[in-house]
Every structure is written in structure tokens, then in C-alpha cells.
Symmetry: C2
């Protein structure tokens, strides 16, 4: 039995459970987002700004995925939304099975949006379906405008790109126009927002778009 | 045959080839560094600043690892040093076998230092020995001061930490003292340098240390 066969079996099993998660989301009218990025691109801060803005309009819950610690769940819990922490203990990505277990600990009734924050990793989470409606990839301007070309799978598989930390551009060798052009070269269907969790730039646009999508699902 | 057994076999096979790489480095008196970080933390820029400063004192060669593109090898080649690009085609880390193949394309005679730039990923490369003398982890201040606690394996397995983009601290919610304290909590033996590839802060200290280590090996 080759390693490639094993890997295919792991992915097939994952896809099967992802389909069950997806059916559960459909049954409850929940829009599920798989939030992915490198470490420190700002996923948790994006969740915090989103909860501040949409917390009264939509019922949002969060699943936090981390290699170690429950710091992110603690940050999100301050917004008084349901949150479940998954610690992967060294694992480099979330799998559908882990999300399934997290869902079993949540009351899904009445939820509009579920945000699943993946492990900080721009490579491995691209290949694992969790049952989400879409992947939202956060890329910080500090990472450089070449990253969509260097890590194409994640941008190919995502529906939305948040170009985050846009306030830092004056201090960086990063051209947001080049970054966006590189991303659209990989995936012409990407919906792109420029955001900053420090100045709140672009957060209203992103949340307006999400509110419309979340309300449509319900 | 379980998946865990397969993974152990993959790691055992990797360790065996890594030992052969290590013997080759020893035979030629080469100090080999495995340079690891998240995407966009500044690995390639650190290599560029290091070549500018040490290029005349030490004979340095570079192996570039990327998921896609040979952009980093093109950047490094401008410094007129031997460079081999490995493209992993979606693979999330370098393995000893890939480095072994790269070494077969290089003239190792007379080399003092080999810098192996790994794929941008703060999780998976922590587990794969390439035969290096040490792992050097680059963490950008933009990633946040909590990252050593959230991705501990990489910091546990590294010998040196470069706290990069130190010039951006005034614009960030990142405390370098907290970052270093968190890193030393995971690994009290870490040698730490604060660096900036924009202002060149700390580059002289880092290169001075590397020069001494590289000369000792030769």
C-alpha cells in the first residue's frame, strides 16, 4: 500500500465527513466560512471586528483551530458568542472530523453564520474541505505582494480574499495593486476587500457583503 | 497498516537521508542552516542582507525551497552565489531527499556555509531534519508576540530566532520583549537577534555571529 494511496484515502474520508457537515449547515440555514491564512495575518482580529459590527444583526458562532493554546477562543469569547476551541496538538490543519466534533458541542438552532478559524498555515488547509460554503483567505500586506503566486492552491480554492493590514502599506515594500493582480491571475473569481483591523478600513464593506450572504442563507 | 505507522516510516527514511546529508556537510566543513518561517516573514531578505555583508568573508551557497515559482532563487542569484531551486509543487515542507538531490547539483568544495530556505510554513518543516547543523527561525514582529506559544514545535527545535521587521514595531500591537520572553519560555537555549532588512538593524550582529560559527566549521 503506497503512501499516495493512504493520502487519497485520508482525503476521501475527510470529504465524506465534510459532506455531512455541509448537510447539517444547510439543514440549519447556516453560512459556514473557513477562514485561512499564514500565522499572524489577522484572522482573529478580523473575527473580532466582524463580531463588533454584525453581532446585533446576525447570530454568529466561532470554531477556533490552533496548534496550541486557547488564546484565540478567549479573545472571541469576550464578544459573548458561542465559541469552541480545537487544539490540534501539532497538527498543521483542521479536518472535517474535528469540526464535526466541535459542532456536536454547539447549539446550531438559530445560527446565521459559523466562522471556522483554521490553523495558521497557507499550504496544508487548502486541501481539506470542512463542509464550509467558502474559504476566506486573509493575506497581510506585510507578507508581500508575490504570495498568491508562491502559494497558489489556497488562492485557487478560496472565494474571498481579505488584503489585511492595509494601513501598514506606507512602511512596506508591497504594492496592493500588484498583490490583487497576482491573486486574480490565480483565481479570477476572487471577491477582494482591503481591510485594516487597526483603522477599521474596509471592515464595513466586508461586513456588508457578509451580512447579505448570511441573511440569504437563513 | 495504520497511517501513524506510515508517517513514522516516512520520518525514519527522512532521518536516514538527513544523516547522509549531515555526513557530507561534515566532510566538506560546511555549516548548514535550515531557515524556516511563516510566508513573508523575510527569509529571502535575510539571505540577501547576509550575502551583502558576508559574501566576501565566507563562501556561501543557497538552496531555495518553494511551493511554486523560482522568484527567490532569482533574487539570490543576483548576489553571484551558487543557488539551486527546489519547487515542491504543493508540498508543505522540504525533505532530506530533496536537499540531497539539490546537493548533487552543487560543487561543495570550498563552501563555508549553506543556507537552505525552507517552504514558508511555521508548522510542518519543524518535524523534518534536512541534515542541517541548526534551524534558524525568522519571526516577523507583524505576526504578533504570541506566536512562539501558539506554534511551539518550531521554536523548540530551532537554535536561533531572528525577530525580523523590528522597524515596524511602532505601528504594531507587538511587544518584542514579550515575544522574546515567550520564545525563551518554549526554548531557553535560543540565540535571539532583532533584525530589520529595511534599516539593516541587527544584521551586523547576526552576521558577526554567523561568521564566527561558519569559520569554526571550516
Amino acid at each position: 500500500m503506497s503512501i499516495i494511496t493512504i493520502e487519497r484515502k485520508v482525503l476521501e474520508k475527510n470529504d465524506e465527513i465534510a459532506s455531512r457537515n455541509r448537510a447539517l449547515f444547510k439543514q440549519h440555514g447556516i453560512l459556514a466560512l473557513n477562514l485561512v491564512s499564514s500565522p499572524g495575518a489577522g484572522k482573529t482580529s478580523i473575527i473580532e471586528r466582524t463580531l463588533e459590527r454584525l453581532g446585533k444583526d446576525l447570530k454568529v458562532a466561532v470554531v477556533e483551530g490552533d496548534v496550541q493554546t486557547d488564546y484565540d477562543a478567549q479573545r472571541v469569547a469576550r464578544y459573548h458568542v458561542p465559541v469552541v476551541q480545537i487544539v490540534t496538538n501539532g497538527g498543521c490543519h483542521l479536518e472535517a472530523k474535528l469540526v464535526q466534533e466541535a459542532l456536536s458541542q454547539m447549539d446550531l438552532g438559530g445560527l446565521d453564520v459559523l466562522i471556522i478559524e483554521n490553523v495558521g498555515n497557507l499550504v496544508c488547509p487548502a486541501n481539506y474541505d470542512l463542509g464550509e460554503a467558502m474559504k476566506v483567505v486573509v493575506l497581510s500586506t506585510t507578507e508581500g505582494d508575490d504570495k498568491p503566486l508562491k502559494y497558489p492552491n489556497m488562492f485557487r480554492n478560496a472565494s474571498v480574499l481579505l488584503v489585511n493590514k492595509i494601513d501598514l502599506v506606507p512602511y512596506l515594500d508591497c504594492n496592493p495593486a500588484t498583490l490583487k493582480s497576482n491573486a486574480l491571475q490565480i483565481n479570477p473569481h476572487l471577491q477582494i476587500f482591503e481591510t485594516s483591523c487597526t483603522t477599521n478600513a474596509g471592515i464595513a464593506d466586508w461586513c456588508g457583503w457578509l451580512k447579505e450572504k448570511g441573511a440569504r442563507t437563513s
